[in-house]
Symmetry: C2
Subunit: 233 residues, 2 copies
């Protein structure tokens, strides 16, 4: 029997993440945990998106009203969801934030660009997936709005062109340093592969950025796991 590993002295005990590890949003917390060397301290509990296990009445009532993954649960029953929120938490645990900024302006920039990547790319592709493709299948996708989904796909493609123009001027999404905003954008690329969309070939700076962030050990760990992932029967 192993000793209890403390993830956070403020809330002693194990931390569990309800997760679908290779998913586009889960990817963001997976990579952040690797960046912070905290990945091995977490227990992951698999939630099968394709069976709608994140939309059951019980999950919505007891884990996350919004029905999204990942959800972090502490030994005392406290919960954290939303990738940005979980990343803020784990990045600040050791008093040495490397993903969410140190100065007030850096914090602002990183939050701005994280939200922009979500709004203009990651969420747009997600809305396309859930509304204009089979998505998670007919049992889970109880309502779809084809026209909205297709418009969001186009918004996501425009978003990639915007990010490309930004990356012609700076190495990372929020400026000179890798941050939470880059991780959100990696999530967008993961979603592109789910919906089988290619990033536009002419977006050279964006593609070079993706090659660059792929050299990070945290990102390599994520893709190693995701590429060998098999959906349980």
């Amino acid at each position: 029997m192993s000793a209890t590993i403390n993830f956070d002295n403020a809330i002693p005990g194990k931390v569990t993440i309800y997760d679908f590890p290779p998913g586009p949003y889960p990817c963001r917390v997976q990579i952040a945990l690797h960046e912070k060397k905290l990945h091995d301290l977490v227990d992951f509990e698999f939630v099968n998106l394709y069976k709608g296990e994140h939309k059951t009445d019980e999950f919505l009532r007891t884990k996350n009203y919004s029905g999204t993954l990942p959800v972090m649960e502490f030994a005392d029953g406290s919960l954290l969801s939303e990738c940005t929120a979980i990343t803020e938490y784990i990045d600040n645990l050791d008093g040495n934030p490397i993903l969410t900024g140190t100065t007030p302006f850096e914090k602002g920039q990183i939050h701005m660009m994280t939200r922009r990547v979500e709004f203009e790319f990651l969420e747009a592709i997600s809305l396309y997936f859930h509304n204009a493709t089979p998505g998670l299948g007919p049992t889970v996708e109880k309502y779809q709005n084809l026209e909205w989904g297709l418009r969001q796909r186009d918004r996501g493609i425009r978003g990639m062109h915007f990010l490309n123009s930004l990356l012609q001027k700076q190495p990372y999404i929020a400026g000179d340093k890798f941050s939470m905003a880059d991780i959100a954008c990696i999530g967008g690329f993961v979603f592109l592969s789910v919906v089988k969309l290619e990033p536009p070939k002419e977006c050279k700076a964006l593609l070079e950025w993706f090659d660059r962030v792929n050299e990070r050990p945290s990102v390599q760990e994520f893709f190693k796991m995701a590429n060998s992932f098999e959906l349980p029967a």
Copy 2:
């Protein structure tokens, strides 16, 4: 001639906010500025949403790709947009954050609840406004998706019931203290009045919360300005 007022020693000089001051999103930064006693240090430049001045090619290209307000501009030309990002910035300027949390877990909770309020209430009502009501008028609303808008209205109403159940157990949206998440929820109430929707009468805890936050000087300052606001011709 008055001396230059420094808003932030890191970026000397005046700060301008492109704004439609009484709006549901602008409200969030207006209140945060009052909470931090920074409101008087900012120059506001009026952007007329109802004339689509936030959607011109020039505004999108030089101020904010996403075409939203408010946008904060520094003397060196740097820009910050997205309410959460601007709030992170101004709350951390003096090293004494009162709206975005001090411990890692508090930061996480406040970001989680801010995003939840946006996703389940404020953004939902915004999507209803822009898609299923005349919104900003036919010149600005170039595309509308009625069905999506109506579903989002219903999502927003469900969201208020969720927030009500939360506020039966705790005094503020993210727990024991007033925070950025409460300010986002005030933005939702501002949007309700724009679309002429009443919050559900049975949501007593939510309505009591609204009375409680309305006692804050920052919130009173906002509503005093908003209630006397007249749209320029």
